[in-house]
Symmetry: C2
Subunit: 361 residues, 2 copies
Amino acid sequence: MLDQQLANAPKLPRSQVGTWTLKEFVTESGIVLSDVNIAYETYGALSASGDNAILLCHALTGDAHAADSDDRPGWWGALIGPGKAIDTERYFVVSSNVLGGCAGSTGPASLKPDKEKAYGADFPEITIRDMVSVQKALADHLNVLQIEMVIGGSMGGMQALEWAIMYPDMIRKSVVIAADPEFSTMGIAYNDVMRQAIISDSNYDGGNYLRSGKFPDQGLRVARMLGMITYRTAALFKERFARETEDGEFQVNRYLRYQGDKLVKRFDAQSYLTLLRAMDSHDIGRFRGGLSAALSSIRAELLWVGIDNDLLYPPNDLIQAVELAKSCGVNARYAHLHSPFGHDAFLIEFDQLRDLIEGLL
Amino acid sequence: MLDQQLANAPKLPRSQVGTWTLKEFVTESGIVLSDVNIAYETYGALSASGDNAILLCHALTGDAHAADSDDRPGWWGALIGPGKAIDTERYFVVSSNVLGGCAGSTGPASLKPDKEKAYGADFPEITIRDMVSVQKALADHLNVLQIEMVIGGSMGGMQALEWAIMYPDMIRKSVVIAADPEFSTMGIAYNDVMRQAIISDSNYDGGNYLRSGKFPDQGLRVARMLGMITYRTAALFKERFARETEDGEFQVNRYLRYQGDKLVKRFDAQSYLTLLRAMDSHDIGRFRGGLSAALSSIRAELLWVGIDNDLLYPPNDLIQAVELAKSCGVNARYAHLHSPFGHDAFLIEFDQLRDLIEGLL
């Protein structure tokens, strides 16, 4: 019996969970951060030649915990493990919490190096490129020399794209899911509504709420509710909730409020704001002479993945980006996730993602 | 010179501006409201037989001022006046501020009949049908016997549709622009985010902010910013604002914040909430045995108008509604507004609206 249970148990990857401290990091804007902690997980083992790494980049509210573990599921657990699409018997998989995040890496809720108080509103504005620079330092620390594939969705896709541009000789394959070469005007607009909801919460106190201990939970809750709407589709909501009510309230509203309440328990508002700004900053052409010049530096094989009815990253925009990349000499192609879920499909449609990743690797 | 100036001056309709008081009104939910004021405007003159009326229904933040006047433009000024599509030489045009509004008609910011304090949060939940019932009472008061056309967009379109169902023998033509037979799940969801933004403003005080005089301006501002996003399109924002900045802020954000600030100066937050709930309630099939049963009672010629890339009321949904109406024996047809603006096109694309209205009348 025990043998059978063991045989049927999900095969978890050998994992390492750690935090590495980068002594000093200078942001794109020139701010010096000392003792930057990077929370990370690795699955599998690095080859002797240091060239079998796969790098995972998480989205806005994600974290380093990508693969399943004994105690809790990971955000891409279905894809990572022995014999899975991202096969931890073959690859050394690295997943880290982004700079500015709030799941172990240094961000606004972290104590400053003097350990006296948290950064709060003093935390600098950072960019997607800053996130990638920090990840590069971590990769160096882990003795990674070549990255077989960097992959991520949404804000993670922005990072995967920047990786291919910033370190072209290190990346063999980049998979950019539900992300664009420059964050769209509409994306900026939605972000600002979320931002205003948070900063106009009377508890926000100019970002210094950690001092009072009264948190801008209501603002963050509203922001998350709006975020959830943009991550899904009208058709999905209609099918799932229609106009049904419970206790006098529409089910769709109960669902959104529940999602808002849930995020508030695990996410720092100032970190959320910091990451929104980083997304806003995303424009691969910035300081590089435009999109084409930026794309031209890519050496990796580029797989760009769009999703049906993605409100924030319409497939047509991504198809155009692929065409532009091709015209710049990049080995780029477009793939499509069919899904009723919209943007969030990259966290849901594992069968299609498995096929895409296996096809690429 | 003076003659020429007069000749070139825009021809304004003869108008009457007034407020009528309905002694008692019982809402759908059974609440009795006394001394209900209805702010209205009329343009042109009623025929002796009382059968040349056109009824205009405004949208969420609209008011009774539809035609231009000496002192300010109306929301449909281009369409209403002598010789215009809605010809005030031929028709008696009636436009009123909805029940629950805050532009002259009784709503949450109005004093209760005892004149001691405003309704505030005591104002009852109302429905689109309540708005129409009050408009019917006004029409009776004005001696209108037959309505040649009832027309409106968005929340106004919901009213135009309910008019055709509630008073089938009184309505010859109904024009439903950018509105659906039942408010969608996604519409309900967006409304709830706006609602939560307002009620979680610490000044909201359970709807009793009129007592403190500290208004939930920040919440209403966030709600309006979100509303504006849903009324426009990604392509329009991209073309107009791209990723341009001024004073360190994205132009699209400056625009949205400006729109938010502007609404706060003219709109009451509790009225906004009341109208959101009325939109949520919109479902012509409610208490009537479903959509088909409701549509089957329509005698009017029904023109249903959809708009390119309307996020809230996708054209395909409206085309389906027209097909359903036809299958119920209604003389219904679909027309389409081509526009880069999205939902707000019904307040912008006057040339196309002129053609549609002239074709119908």
